[in-house]
Symmetry: C2
């Protein structure tokens, strides 16, 4: 039989799924978090992919989200529409450092978060697997050129070092946005009466370097990446792996 994972982290049948489509849309996080909750009783799971960041609190061995749809998650800091590759720079910052001042940014899709992460050596050319803003390549040169266009400049107006400073500024803003969502989730866990000192962070996804940095700043001390638990290969397809295990459990195998 064919199963679907719904937002309550349960496997449902095809017939149930088409009756409540919103319950299975964007429910990848539910499968992943279900599997993590089998491993850690108290944990915040942070999955940063190419496009977005998902934060799932796991409390007393149970997935304990407050938002069940994307807009609800955006309200409660459980979803940040910011990823390591595909995010338009103009949705991250409204100005960038420019020759001792700040320049406003263009609202065109001139460059993406992947350009910033590659320029700062946080990802490799191979990691940069999604389409670029201008359809050109993923070399350092091409990433620098794209980023220079964000304040409507080019690689003659700005030298490479000047473009790197723009990347640094955008990167720090990215970390801050994820930090802010994490602090929000932390205060919710506290309001439930729990002690955050017992909470691990479990990171996943291409952007786990961002998750780790933000988690440290938020005060978490015990941070582990799923690749060090499940290995690199499984980590890259973690939601599918988790859903498969869920199906096996349901089928009693």
């Amino acid at each position: 039989s064919r199963f679907y994972v719904n937002v309550e982290g349960k496997l449902i049948s095809y017939m149930e799924a088409i009756k409540k489509p919103l319950n299975v849309a964007a429910a990848n996080w539910a499968a992943s978090a279900w599997l993590i909750s089998k491993k850690f009783d108290n944990c915040v799971f942070i999955d940063i992919g190419s496009t977005s960041t998902t934060i799932v609190p796991i409390v007393d061995g149970k997935v304990s989200v407050k938002g069940f749809t994307d807009p609800e998650k955006l309200v409660y800091g459980e979803l940040v529409y910011l990823g390591a590759l595909r995010t338009n720079i103009c949705s991250i910052v409204s100005e960038v450092p420019y020759k001792g001042l700040f320049a406003r940014v263009s609202s065109e899709k001139f460059a993406l978060s992947g350009d910033v992460c590659l320029i700062l050596n946080k990802i490799s050319v191979e990691d940069y697997a999604t389409e670029t803003a201008d359809g050109r390549g993923r070399s350092l040169r091409e990433c620098l050129d794209r980023l220079s266009r964000v304040p409507c400049a080019d690689n003659e107006i700005l030298n490479d070092s000047e473009i790197v400073e723009i990347a640094r500024y955008i990167y720090e803003t990215m970390v801050f946005k994820i930090f802010k969502a994490l602090i929000q989730v932390r205060t919710r866990i506290l309001s439930l009466g729990y002690d955050l000192n017992g909470f691990k962070v479990c990171t996943a996804g291409l952007g786990s370097f961002l998750a780790k940095e933000a988690a440290l700043r938020a005060g978490f001390k015990d941070i582990i990446d799923i690749s060090s638990i499940y290995g690199r290969k499984i980590s890259q397809v973690f939601p599918a792996y988790a859903a498969a295990l869920m199906a096996l459990e349901r089928l009693g195998k």
Copy 2:
């Protein structure tokens, strides 16, 4: 004779000083930077005191500021009106994390940056030498109580852990503001044609922990505090010490 340090980092007489009072007002930074420039050819001097942050680029052994008055410095990122003790919280953040959501802040002077720094163990009770927001003491308990009032709460509505999260959020915002000014100054140095890899950072003042954190995030690698050069005692009165050395040089001693 009596000398005054002006904003060009020169000693002038009393008669010259009263002719151009703006040239000697708030010129402490000029004396300090003059002395640092004798030590390091290429350096960014960051002095974070109780009330404000001064950033002085030193290029080729010369103080190389773009702003000579406070408003000019505020424009160019050479002055940030943010210090480690006396800054009103409502000038740092407009909202704070609150039980899984964010609450707007009161615009009263309910708490200061010193409360945040003490709660997070960045400063000691002895370091907190300025007046508090409510005139009461500087104990951890009193700092927590004051900070709880920023979102118009108190220590019954918020427990201590919840108040610590508010402190973390404010602290990260403080680091980001100083980081942003530093990146601005870095892009100005680059626009003059220099390579930032040759630049040290020299920190000073009670808030040097903030300066160090912001400098690392901005990409500086070689960071030194003046107390490790001149010792703790001289560092605490550094502008006066620098002005005295300037006077000795002028008098040819």
